[in-house]
């Protein structure tokens, strides 16, 4: 579609980009040649167009020469298109009348022959002139924002993000799949480097979440599906049947006493048992019992019924079912946490075979006062107090061959903590840590590690353990001290393996439903590894905590607050703007064949059955152009990238 009959006055600004462009392309000649090109009302060149004077030049020239459109021949549009669009706006020009001709990445950076590179630059610019002539002035699409956030995951990151967003004044839905919030942090005994009791510092936050007027706490819920787009997500949530009314349960515990069924206690990492009707831990929030149908004798039909009989408050209801409901939110924070690499993977350590070869979380439960041993260090097999404990770092991490190539970041610190706490509880015991490096990058971290070595007299041996096997009562650990060049063997009573941090179990399914991208290890992919750590490339999704990669609690909290701040940024705007360079439907030409619908990766197009033509959701459309390429009738034409424009560009490039 032509803009209007009047010939546009196009201004051309050719950038030197220092020597990046000018070193290969004769920019002065280009500007000179283009002066006489039809449509070009003004042509100049300058050293750095993106600089303040450069931009000022653009603004002044637009006003002086009454330009309708400008072309900046410079670097890739991904870098400065926005810069020049903003400059043009200041001069009163519609930002979609700006064209960026890339003569750097596409020309000066890839060619050596100066003469040919200069000719190519001219061709490129000519093609943009052809396009610019037909560009329309466009207005950004405005989108409403639903100022309500969804936080998935009730660990420390999810809790922090929820609190911060709620403190801003916005409504938050906090969805947690387990019966209580708390995540992994609530399972810890003490945290490094302060040795704060983990539950003591976390439960106040958990209580705050439960009491906050802006937070709707949905535990034992899961996200079923998400549709929509930033500012306007429709989330389908599943409420799992707890079989207990939270509001009625008074935690008297009578049900638990009479329940005949036992199950491994997940909170204690399987080191002890719980009943089928249970509370995960004393400070659980919400404070209520939950009936685990899987381990119950049977609910359909009811085979036991003892718990219901003894419940004074009539809080138990066997007829509860799964419920689904929908909520609208404007942004989603994903804080789904992590899991530890499976012990089964390290056959050479006998971790599957031997009860006394355990992972870090199991040791945390042993150390914890609320754990299966009441805080006494006893080994799982026979309850004896281990006098010789070996700690092995880097189990399944830093391994490019069979396991995970990355470093899990927290193991060096928590191993030092474990060794230190063991020595505090068993002063006549001996602790050995086998390490390759000791990584203590945080505040007060190295000092903490030095205390472990100097004050608590833990022996650090530099060498990776090759094999662990059992002989009689002892676990024989084959290691090496690379510093003295000696192969060493330790007869241990118990071995604690610092297993790698991996993606949370089952998170793949959830992320597929959310259509959020991950990296090759299954951790959430951030938009830019250095400059955008809490946003996903998928607009509207924010990342917090170990779901994005291994990190410790201070970092997780910082990231959660950062994600909350980004949500705040979003909600602070009156409305969202979406790029108008989308692909509308020309209903005169559209035959309703539907090919474009199948091409669209954003589900932006659908069939209007009444009218027999395709319609497009302008906010979902990202302007990729796949539909435009596929459309047989030409009804799908991308704004400012029409077929007519593209052919005009080709003609210009080929010398026409």
């Amino acid at each position: 579609m032509k803009n209007d009959k009047k010939e546009k006055r196009i201004g051309l600004f050719v950038c030197h980009c220092g020597v990046n462009i000018a070193g290969v392309v004769d920019v002065e000649k280009v500007a000179q040649v283009m002066k006489d090109h039809p449509g070009v009302a003004f042509s100049t060149n300058y050293v750095y167009m993106c600089s303040d004077p450069g931009q000022q030049m653009i603004i002044d020239t637009i006003k002086e020469k009454k330009l309708d459109s400008i072309i900046v021949a410079a670097c890739s549009p991904t870098l400065h298109e926005k810069t020049f669009q903003e400059a043009a706006k200041l001069a009163g020009l519609n930002p979609y009348q700006i064209e960026i001709a890339n003569i750097r990445e596409q020309d000066s950076w890839v060619h050596k022959d100066k003469e040919r590179a200069t000719r190519k630059a001219i061709k490129i610019i000519k093609s943009h002139v052809a396009k610019a002539r037909l560009n329309e002035s466009l207005e950004p699409i405005k989108v409403d924002i639903k100022k309500r956030a969804l936080v998935i995951g009730g660990g420390i990151s999810g809790i922090q993000a929820a609190l911060d967003i709620a403190d801003h004044g916005y409504q938050v839905l906090l969805v947690e799949k387990n019966p209580s919030i708390g995540g992994k942090m609530i399972q810890l005994s003490e945290t490094f480097p302060t040795l704060d009791c983990s539950q003591c510092i976390m439960t106040p936050k958990m209580v705050e979440v439960s009491r906050h007027p802006n937070i709707k706490l949905l535990t034992y819920h899961e996200v079923e599906s998400v549709s929509g787009f930033i500012g306007n997500f429709k989330v389908k949530i599943k409420k799992k049947p707890r079989y207990v009314f939270e509001s009625l349960c008074n935690l008297c515990g009578e049900c638990e006493k009479v329940c005949p069924q036992i199950a491994p206690d997940e909170f204690n990492m399987g080191l002890s048992f719980r009943k089928a009707i249970y509370m995960p831990f004393p400070q659980a929030i919400p404070g209520t019992y939950t009936l685990d149908a899987e381990h119950c004798l049977g609910l359909k039909p009811v085979r036991c019924g003892k718990c219901k009989d003894v419940c004074d408050k009539k809080a138990i209801d066997y007829d509860m079912k799964e419920e689904f409901f929908e909520e609208m939110v404007g942004s989603i924070v994903i804080a789904t946490g992590y899991d530890l690499y499976s012990l089964q993977a390290l056959g050479e350590y006998g971790s599957e075979k031997y009860d006394d070869v355990i992972n870090g979380l199991e040791f945390e439960r042993i150390l914890s006062a609320s754990g299966p041993t009441g805080g006494e260090v006893r080994r799982p097999s026979d309850g004896k107090v281990p006098k010789n404990v070996v700690f092995v770092q880097c189990c399944g991490s830093r391994d490019t061959e069979k396991h995970n190539p990355y470093c899990s970041k927290i193991c060096c610190m928590y191993t030092a903590k474990h060794a230190m706490l063991y020595k505090h509880r068993v002063p006549d015991g001996h602790a050995t840590v086998f390490y390759i490096d000791v990584r203590t990058g945080g505040k007060a971290f190295d000092e903490f590690y030095q205390r472990t070595v100097e004050e608590d007299k833990v022996l650090y041996v530099r060498g990776k353990v090759s094999k662990i096997y059992k002989e009689g009562d002892k676990l024989i650990v084959w290691g090496v001290d690379t510093l003295t060049g000696k192969k060493v063997e330790v007869e241990a009573d118990m071995v604690v393996l610092a297993m790698a941090m991996v993606k949370a179990e089952g998170v793949d399914d959830l992320l597929k439903k959310l259509k959020v991208s991950t990296d090759i290890h299954g951790f959430l992919a951030e938009a830019h590894p250095k400059l955008r750590p809490v946003e996903s490339l998928n607009a509207g999704f924010y990342l917090a905590g170990c779901a994005q990669g291994p990190k410790d609690i201070p970092e997780a909290v910082a990231q959660a607050s950062a994600a909350a701040a980004k949500v705040g940024d979003l909600f602070a705007q009156k409305e969202l703007t979406h790029s108008p360079e989308i692909v509308p439907v020309n209903t005169d030409l559209c035959s309703g064949c539907g090919i474009c619908i199948t091409m669209c990766p954003y589900d932006a197009r659908s069939l209007d059955k009444e009218r027999g033509v395709v319609q497009v959701n302008e906010v979902l459309c990202e302007g990729c152009g796949a539909c435009a390429a596929a459309c047989p009738s030409g009804a799908a034409q991308q704004r400012n990238q029409t077929d007519e424009q593209i052919f005009a560009m080709l003609t210009a490039m080929l010398g026409g």
Partner: protein
Amino acid sequence: MRVKLKAGAEESKFIERIEELSGENVYACYQCGRCSAGCPVAFEMDLLPNQIIRLVQMGLKDEVLNSKTLSICASCFTCQSRCPKGIDMARVMEAVRHVLDPKSRDIFGPSDVSPELAIELPQQVLVAVFRKFSK
């Protein structure tokens, strides 16, 4: 004893030759020591397997020259099966043997086996040990 770490042509040639012969990237080793920890005969060695590859990394050819370790490796591949970087230490060991023992002498040869013993031994072990250690 002062060891000069020269990054000279001789050192590079040595390292390159080892990599060429073994097909392994010696720089990938981050000295975790797992090879030495699992080696069944390390207790007899003067230099541990991880120390051998360390000296290669540093180009210190002379340091490995007289090590007994080279003739103690049993080629059992435990090192290779446990290395987190996938380095085949057995191949590196063999490459070092080749570079440092240029066909001039036997580490262990026919003259080291008495005729009485030779009759008693299974053939495979004679073939194996001479293949490894004799010129």
